[in-house]
């Protein structure tokens, strides 16, 4: 069980918003940061800050050790085969764009297929739309089941021998659905395609083992897993990364520079042009230490419990519709909903007046909103610092919202 004291490590949560104690239920957008991560950043800037991989001086060495040390932590965290397979980038979006622009441009040709699903975040749609347009390829969508899950039958129907790339979200940022990416990777490989996994909502909440999933690429962001913004990771299989060209050129990523031609550093640095995101990586390393201390298995269990409790309590509210799988075991700690007759923005404003932070809108997933036949939804997302009392406050807030709007209508 996750102790209630975990909350005390997150200073931001100890405040009032609009006269009420803050209840933060928007971790799927970004998570809050524990004091351990904040202090790691502060310590780095106060004592170790320097540029990496160049200085002969002591600080340069220290910064390099910290930066590369963070890479080792990430490698173990996702069980990558080696640190060469761990590339530090700005976030999930940058990571997916790198795969599309480098691997995609070199391997996807006219008439080839790229397969994604209806539940993707825009960051796992638009890079593929652009690639398909540029290469004359076909972008295909895997249909969803009625409960917002993906069946392997639909996957098999969509992936063909013309498919070169399959990209899929591991945990949906809207429906909370956990997708069978390991099985999908197997089907992709049987058809000669590579498998890209958008792990932005998975890495904070589940134990990730990229070798066990056997995916070819895995992308995630630090800021959703108690780390700082501006740091993310692309994992890729070494054999593929070795073949790929960098997409950003400049300092730090070169081996030898001539007047008219240059050569690149070895992995992973050839993809890390410019001064890297050193402090961000250090912060991400501290975030991984923090999550490991609690244990990802514990966190996953806690989220299922939160989802189950929230769904039970929320379904007691008349006129409240929850989207996605009804079975809490099939979803992470994300509950997306609408309260009938009250627009989600209005719901979110009323909740905010009670100190409760939820997201309202299309959640960067417009094709999914279309599939759900709604223009917008409200979303409550839970993390390790949320407890049942937070959900009780949410339910109370939703009831007040309903009453308030019943009165004015």
């Amino acid at each position: 069980m996750i102790s209630k004291e975990i909350k005390s490590y997150f200073p931001i949560l100890n405040q009032e918003i609009n006269g009420n104690p803050l209840i933060y239920l928007d971790s799927a957008a970004t998570s809050q940061k524990p004091v351990q991560v904040i202090e790691a950043l502060e310590y780095y800037y106060k004592l170790d800050n320097s540029n990496v991989h160049r200085g002969v001086h002591t600080l340069g060495n220290r910064a390099t050790e910290k930066y590369e040390g963070a890479r080792e932590k990430v490698q173990k965290f996702i069980n990558a085969g080696s640190t060469e397979e761990v590339i530090f980038l700005r976030g999930t979006t940058t990571a997916i764009n790198l795969v599309a622009q480098s691997y995609g441009r070199a391997n996807v040709n006219e008439g080839d297929e790229i397969v994604i699903t209806y539940m993707e975040h825009h960051s796992n749609i638009i890079p593929w739309q652009q690639l398909a347009k540029e290469r004359g390829a076909i972008l295909k969508y895997i249909e969803l089941e009625e409960d917002g899950t993906i069946s392997l039958e639909q996957v098999k129907a969509a992936i063909t021998e013309r498919t070169k790339m399959v990209s899929m979200v591991y945990v949906s940022n809207v429906l909370g659905t956990m997708n069978p990416v390991k099985e999908v990777a197997r089907i992709a490989h049987e058809n000669g395609a590579v498998m890209v996994v958008d792990g932005a909502q998975a890495a904070p909440h589940l134990k990730i083992d990229v070798q066990q999933l056997d995916c070819d690429f895995f992308a995630f962001s630090g800021h959703k897993m108690v780390g700082p913004t501006g740091i993310g990771v692309l994992y890729g299989k070494k054999a593929l990364l070795n073949e790929m060209e960098p997409v950003e050129f400049g300092g730090e990523m070169i081996d030898f520079v001539g007047l008219y031609d240059s050569t690149w550093k070895e992995l992973p640095w050839k993809f890390e042009g410019g001064t890297p995101i050193i402090a961000g990586a250090v912060g991400l390393g501290a975030a991984i230490d923090f999550l490991n201390e609690i244990g990802l298995d514990e966190i996953e269990k806690h989220e299922h419990e939160m989802a189950a409790y929230a769904m039970e309590k929320m379904s007691g509210i008349d006129g409240l519709e929850i989207y996605g799988p009804k079975d809490p075991a099939k979803r992470a700690g994300i509950v997306t909903f609408n309260l009938n007759d009250v627009h989600p923005h209005d719901v979110a404003t009323v909740l905010d007046m009670s100190g409760i932070a939820v997201r309202a809108g299309h959640h960067c997933a417009q094709p999914l909103m279309k599939w759900l036949e709604v223009s917008a939804t409200a979303r409550a997302s839970f993390y390790l610092y949320n407890g049942e009392s937070d959900i009780d406050r949410l339910v109370e807030g939703l009831r007040s919202a309903k009453e308030y709007f019943n009165d004015v209508f």
Binding site: H345, D346, T349, G361
Partner: protein, 146 residues
């Protein structure tokens, strides 16, 4: 729980426009057509205007969104209908200033629009209120160009 602040936002005039929007629909033939979205939240408005001899003869809207965006669209069409184009643009400027908490020309008769003043206290909702006005400005400017 006290919702005094909310009452500043959701004034009864606003709720009335939300529930029974004025000028809902589209103007057929030869009208100016403007589609505008609020990309961060999914609000969408389809505004049609009929402008003749520098006067906004008719204005209708359709779309989907929250109470503030739809009420504001309803009020906007009501306010600009029958007005000179310059007057409509002037109202838009006044409204924008009001939303941004700037000083605005209080001598102008804003009618129902005045009720939206409370929105300026809710920064996240200002874009909801200004969407319809932006669409109107865009439509008028596009017509001037052609």
């Amino acid at each position: 729980m006290s919702f005094n602040n909310l009452d500043q936002l959701y004034r009864s005039v606003i709720m009335d426009h939300y529930k029974t929007p004025r000028n809902k629909g589209t103007i057929e033939n030869d009208s100016i057509n403007i589609e505008m979205n609020n990309p961060t939240c999914g609000d969408r408005i389809h505004l049609t205007l009929q402008v003749e001899d520098g006067i906004v003869k008719d204005a209708k809207f359709d779309g989907e969104g929250c109470s503030i965006s739809m009420a504001s669209a309803s009020m906007m069409t009501q306010a600009v209908k029958g007005q000179k184009v310059e007057t409509a643009l002037g109202l838009s400027k006044t409204f924008s200033d009001m939303m941004l908490g700037k000083e605005y020309d209080e001598s102008e008769d804003l009618g129902d629009i005045e009720a939206l003043q409370g929105v300026s206290q809710f920064p996240a909702r200002i874009k909801c209120a200004t969407l319809a006005w932006k669409a109107m400005e865009k439509g008028v400017h596009e017509q001037e160009k052609s």
